[in-house]
């Protein structure tokens, strides 16, 4: 129990960027577009956050963080349009286009970092500070776990998760978005603009993945270096592990967050130090493979995901 309380804040800090990125992937894939470029979109978000904060920090101090996150969302959305143009308008192979997004994102951001600041690394001085939620943090057990030492971004991302759940399942736009991923031709026949919906889905994935990269910078990482250490790929795995559902994603990302944090801190915590670190480190990935085997018979993947929508083709 003590161990859990100790690592909880770290695990949550790691989970949140993963969660919001995976949620972005959900919107893209539910609209019918595979987005393997989440990793690259996160890198773009982390770049814009670090860059904007770097410029504004001298005058604005810690307030620059919020402009940095806003820039991450806009930058991610704009960059994701490359993927949208390729996979929606040009009917490209979506996996290949996503791979290109990943390669271009890393190279372009480091390229510009070097040109603008002379180095491929961008440090930020202030990271977001942790705070205790008033009143709620005093509740026994739940208080220390959920409401102590939290980041504002954590609550922001959870709010987005709630909103996303509501929009997807309780509004007409959510229904339309999902229908484009299941039966685009039926959606088209019902008068839904499939192409536009898919552009929006991909755009949201860019917005959220960008935010994910930004949150990573302002919470635990503190610097841009052209990589998000495979978090985007993990977000993709979480999406599939979570069976393309918002709450499933929440569970899957929490699982990754805890497993990874346990592996990271295992050497200093006696109860974990007995397990070889390599087992702890590889555990999330092996578990994902096993989960995929179990779910393979009842996969909830959107039926038309990955298929270009060509209007006249039936």
């Amino acid at each position: 129990m003590n161990t859990i309380v100790q690592i909880f804040p770290y695990a949550v800090a790691y989970t949140i960027p993963l969660l919001i990125t995976s949620l972005g992937g959900l919107f893209s894939e539910r609209s019918g577009v595979v987005n393997i470029g989440l990793e690259g979109l996160m890198v773009v978000g982390s770049f814009f956050t670090a860059l904007v904060i770097n410029f504004l920090e001298p005058t604005m101090g810690a307030n620059a963080i919020w402009f940095g996150l806003l820039a991450a969302m806009i930058g991610g959305a704009l960059f994701s349009m490359l993927h949208a143009i390729a996979s929606v308008s040009l009917h490209a192979n979506q996996v290949i286009s996503g791979t290109a997004i990943n390669m271009i994102a890393t190279a372009v951001t480091v390229f510009f970092a070097r040109n603008l600041l002379g180095s491929g690394n961008i440090q930020i001085i202030n990271t977001l500070s942790r705070f205790n939620v008033p009143l709620l943090s005093r509740i026994p057990i739940i208080g220390p776990l959920f409401f102590t030492n939290t980041y504002a971004t954590t609550w922001f991302v959870l709010a987005i998760l709630g909103a996303a759940y509501f929009v997807l399942y309780y509004t007409p736009s959510g229904l339309r978005l999902r229908s484009c991923g299941e039966h685009p031709h039926a959606a088209d026949a019902a008068g839904i603009n499939v192409q536009r919906t898919r552009y929006i889905g991909v755009g949201l994935s860019g917005t959220f993945a960008g935010l994910g990269g930004g949150v990573m910078i302002v919470t635990y990482s503190g610097q841009f270096n052209g990589s998000v250490a495979g978090l985007g790929f993990l977000a993709l795995a979480s999406l599939i592990f979570g069976q393309w559902k918002p709450l499933g994603i929440l569970g899957a990302t929490l699982f990754f967050g805890f497993a990874t944090t346990m592996a990271n801190v295992s050497q200093v915590i006696p109860s974990l130090a007995v397990i070889p670190p390599v087992l702890l480190k590889t555990f999330p990935y092996v578990a994902t493979l096993i989960a995929l085997i179990i779910f393979s018979r009842s996969s909830q993947a959107p039926k038309a995901v990955g298929e270009p929508f060509v209007k006249d083709k039936r």
Binding site: A92, N93, T99, I104, V108, F111, A237, Y285, L289, S299
Partner: protein
């Protein structure tokens, strides 16, 4: 007589032109001269015997990762796990090279077999998951990348580090693919026996794809899985086999990189050559000869970008941007296709 350029080659050349054009615009945008930059880039890759040899040394690994991705592609499988397969193959080769004391030819053979077997295992798992349980190979190979990353990390860190903890001990010359006569005739370049290994495998894979029953069945599964099944082919077995061969090729790529080019293994990150292999395969239209040519082109970019930076100050990432844009160009080749037909129609009208 009119010379006919194959359609695939036209598309590849257009993708390259597209990549170089976007690269040039970025260079221009950041205030440098694109012509000077590209001149330096190509000089850096081709200026002397030594630089040409280093370009080929850079290409060696890419030929093999490219072949790996291309081979899986032919069966309709997207092998995004070449990086992990390469790393685990390189790890086994390094471990064998550091712990065995054998005559050089024998040791190199043992390392080759070990690397191939490790890569094959890393391909087999996603293959069997795909065939048996219909687990998408993209996700499975990504997971296998991470497992390879951490397995290598702890194996090397615990048993085979040098003074620095971030890399393995340096391979002795008896376990290196570099040989004196090659170094001498190429003015002390990195060129090594790996290139010959890669060329042999290009030929072997070419024969398998184009001349064998297995190759025919693999391609058939790639075109239409259900039709091949109906025709009595064992598609599931072929999927596993295809991933095993792809993994084997990437594993050997790891052997040629760590025992031929770098001589020690860096831990904590995936080798980028696995992802570049995707670009190589796409640009090469998934044919062995195409892979060979595009690997040499990418090897040139990789080798020349450092020289370009030192001469003109353009950041070396421009090379990676060009590679990325080229893949994007291959993904959107429909556009180029349309452009081509448009121009051809225009010409015919006259």
């Amino acid at each position: 007589m009119k010379i006919r350029i194959p359609h695939q080659l036209k598309l590849a050349l257009m993708a390259i032109a597209f990549g170089l054009l976007i690269g040039a615009l970025l260079i221009l945008f950041t205030g440098y001269n694109p012509f000077a930059a590209y001149t330096a880039l190509f000089q850096g890759g081709l200026m002397s015997i030594r630089r040409i040899a280093n370009t080929l040394a850079n290409s060696t690994t890419l030929i093999l990762t490219g072949l790996s991705v291309a081979f899986a592609f032919r069966t309709g499988l997207f092998n995004i796990g070449a990086s992990g397969q390469m790393l685990i193959g390189g790890m086994v080769a390094t471990v064998l090279g550091l712990s065995l004391d054998l005559p050089k030819p024998l040791l190199l053979t043992v390392m080759l077999v070990g690397a191939a077997a490790a890569g094959a295992l890393w391909g087999f798992i996603p293959g069997i998951l795909k065939a048996r349980f219909n687990v998408h190979e993209v996700v499975a190979t990504i997971m296998m990348n991470f497992v390879a990353l951490w397995t290598t990390y702890y194996t090397i860190q615990n048993y085979f580090t040098a003074e620095q903890e971030t890399q393995s001990a340096t391979l002795p010359s008896g376990a290196s693919l570099q040989v004196d006569w090659l170094r001498q005739i190429t003015d002390r370049s990195f060129l090594n026996l790996g290139l010959f290994l890669a060329l042999i495998l290009v030929v072997i894979i070419g024969v398998i794809i184009n001349k064998s029953v297995l190759g025919y069945e693999l391609k058939a599964a790639g075109y239409n899985r259900f039709a091949s099944e109906y025709a009595g082919m064992n598609v599931n077995r072929n999927i596993v086999l295809s991933m095993v061969i792809a993994g084997m090729l990437a594993g050997i790529a790891g052997f040629t990189y760590y025992a031929g080019y770098s001589s020690h293994l860096e831990i904590g990150k995936l080798p980028t050559q696995g992802f570049d292999g995707i670009a190589v395969a796409l640009l090469g239209a998934n044919t062995p000869i195409g892979v060979l040519l595009s690997a040499v082109f990418f090897g040139l970019l990789l080798n020349g970008k450092g020289f370009m930076q030192s001469v003109t100050g353009v950041p070396p990432e421009i090379g990676d941007i060009i590679i990325g844009v080229i893949i994007y160009g291959s993904a959107t080749s429909v556009l180029f296709d349309r452009l081509l037909t448009y121009f051809q129609r225009g010409r015919n009208k006259k």
